[in-house]
């Protein structure tokens, strides 16, 4: 079988590689965080700590999978599954390379945004069904944060969509062959980056799971593999946001031809993953009201102005 869009081999490869990458990120993040804090990080298991993820997985699989007696069993169990499947579904429209991808959809951008919105359900259900005050606080914060930051996420993307004239992510990549969208859409890129961090609850916007304030937020009551699914889904979200930034603003698989397209895609995506880890190492967490007012009073106007200016330029440059 050949690698082509939508063939079972490609789909299986994407699923496997994406999940393994997300799991490996646990180790990679710990190592990078260590380096940026003048430590070494975990380097005992395997070659320079590369098998640390195996040790972590063995630990998390053999832990007691406990459901609190006061929890609402059904929604407690399905909540981690929702976020995992929703994030994995988003990878369906990501164009990894000209011949690698699951579907070639005309509504790719909208699909990703829709799946990101559905992810809020998982967080809400997980927090509410736990019947725990920290989980409830965390899920309230998560729901409010995800819903507000989706607004600017969508609007900041519209500049790219307007420049391309299509919601298809493959066409967006192909339209960047004579110049990445980072140059005309720099403000859109910055807003999308910030909103992406907030969407995947990474530091500095990990307010839904702020350890110092509310334990672990919405997954306080989770243990064992259900916690592992939340954990891996967070890293999957990180991979997803990095891939989206690569596709939308940095030309996806495009690059000099001495390396195959998928390698260019991986290099760019990993650079953004490393940048997210760097943000975690460097930037402190804002207060909750600061997060909300920053979003609605600063990012929303700026993204709207960006969209208006982009539209005006496109219209005026047309004959």
């Amino acid at each position: 079988m050949d690698l082509e869009i939508g063939s079972p081999l490609t789909v299986g490869l994407i699923l496997g590689v994406v999940i393994v990458t997300a799991a490996l990120l646990i180790t990679v993040e710990r190592r990078l965080l260590g380096f940026w804090q003048e430590r070494l990080g975990p380097n005992r298991v395997g070659w320079f700590g590369s098998l640390q993820v195996v040790a972590d997985m063995i630990k998390i699989f053999t832990k007691e999978d406990w459901i609190p007696p006061f929890a609402d069993k059904f929604s407690f169990v399905i909540a981690p599954g929702i976020i995992m499947s929703v994030v994995l579904l988003s990878f369906a429209v990501i164009p990894f390379a000209p011949n690698i991808g699951v579907i070639d959809s005309n509504i790719g951008v909208l699909f990703v945004l829709a799946m990101a919105s559905l992810g809020a359900y998982s967080v809400m259900l997980g927090g509410l069904s736990s019947d725990n005050k920290y989980a409830l606080l965390g899920s309230l914060r998560a729901a409010a944060q995800m819903i507000s930051y989706e607004v600017f996420m969508g609007i900041s993307l519209l500049g790219v969509v307007a420049l391309t004239g299509s919601f298809n992510l493959r066409e967006i990549v192909n339209a960047q062959s004579d110049g990445w969208y980072i140059i005309p859409q720099f403000i859109g890129f910055v807003i999308f980056l910030i909103a992406g961090v907030a969407e995947s609850h990474r530091l500095p916007f990990d307010i839904p799971e702020a350890e110092q304030e509310i334990c672990a937020g919405y997954h306080t009551e989770y243990s064992g593999m259900k916690f592992g699914m939340f954990f891996v889904a967070e890293y999957l979200g990180l991979v997803l946001i990095s891939s989206l930034i690569t596709v939308l603003f940095f030309g996806g698989w495009l690059g000099p031809t001495f390396l195959p397209p998928i390698v260019w895609f991986s290099i760019k995506a990993f650079a953004f993953i490393a940048f997210f880890v760097l943000m975690r190492a460097a930037v402190p967490r804002p207060r909750y009201d600061q997060l909300m007012s920053y979003g609605w009073l600063f990012l929303l106007p700026v993204s709207l102005i960006n969209l208006l200016v982009t539209g005006a330029i496109i219209l005026s440059s047309q004959p």
Partner: protein, 179 residues
């Protein structure tokens, strides 16, 4: 307003840059089992019982260490030899209680109990943390090489009467009028 936004943005970029260049700095981590740390000679670690230069046990079972110990981890029983020397019949230190404060070493009048720079004392069984006299005794003098308690003390033992110790004058006969 614009100035504030630009300043805040640049401040964040500067923060990210300063943290990023840390990746090239020397790491502070000491990879302990691979690279052993330098232990200072007066480090307060594992407790030992030393012997005097003649090879006899220095401990005279005076119980001062057990009294000084703030966590009561030392237990011992006095015994007496035929020549008049005192010695501990058993000497037991419970290292799972010991806090390595060194009070026992300061209290010891014979320099018998001493603390060493060894700190690797982990055990799998809790009972193995209790050390008996055979485990504590070493075959050397520890930090004080020439000190022998019975040779300088006024205590009378077989072969050494009162007043025969080093730097000691003969006892005064208080019932005599002679100077």
């Amino acid at each position: 307003m614009i100035k504030l936004i630009v300043y805040t943005l640049l401040s964040q970029v500067r923060t990210l840059w300063l943290v990023f260049i840390k990746i090239f700095q020397k790491k502070d981590t000491v990879e302990y089992p691979d690279s052993q740390p330098y232990m200072f000679p007066r480090w307060r670690g594992r407790i030992i019982l030393s012997r005097d230069p003649d090879g006899e046990e220095r401990c005279v079972a005076c119980n001062l260490c057990a009294v000084a110990c703030p966590v009561d981890c030392i237990a011992l029983q006095k015994g007496e030899m035929e020549d008049g020397r005192w010695y501990p019949e058993f000497f037991r230190i419970n290292f799972s209680r010991c806090i390595m404060c060194g009070f026992c070493e300061e209290a010891c009048p014979t320099n018998a109990i001493q603390l060493t720079p060894d700190f690797e004392m982990a055990e799998y069984v809790r009972q193995d943390m209790v050390w008996e006299k055979e485990d504590l005794l070493i075959n050397g003098t520890g930090k004080y090489h020439d000190y022998n308690f019975y040779r300088v003390a006024g205590k009378k033992i077989e072969g050494k009467d009162k007043g025969e110790a080093l730097n000691e004058a003969a006892p005064i006969d208080v019932k005599s009028l002679m100077p």
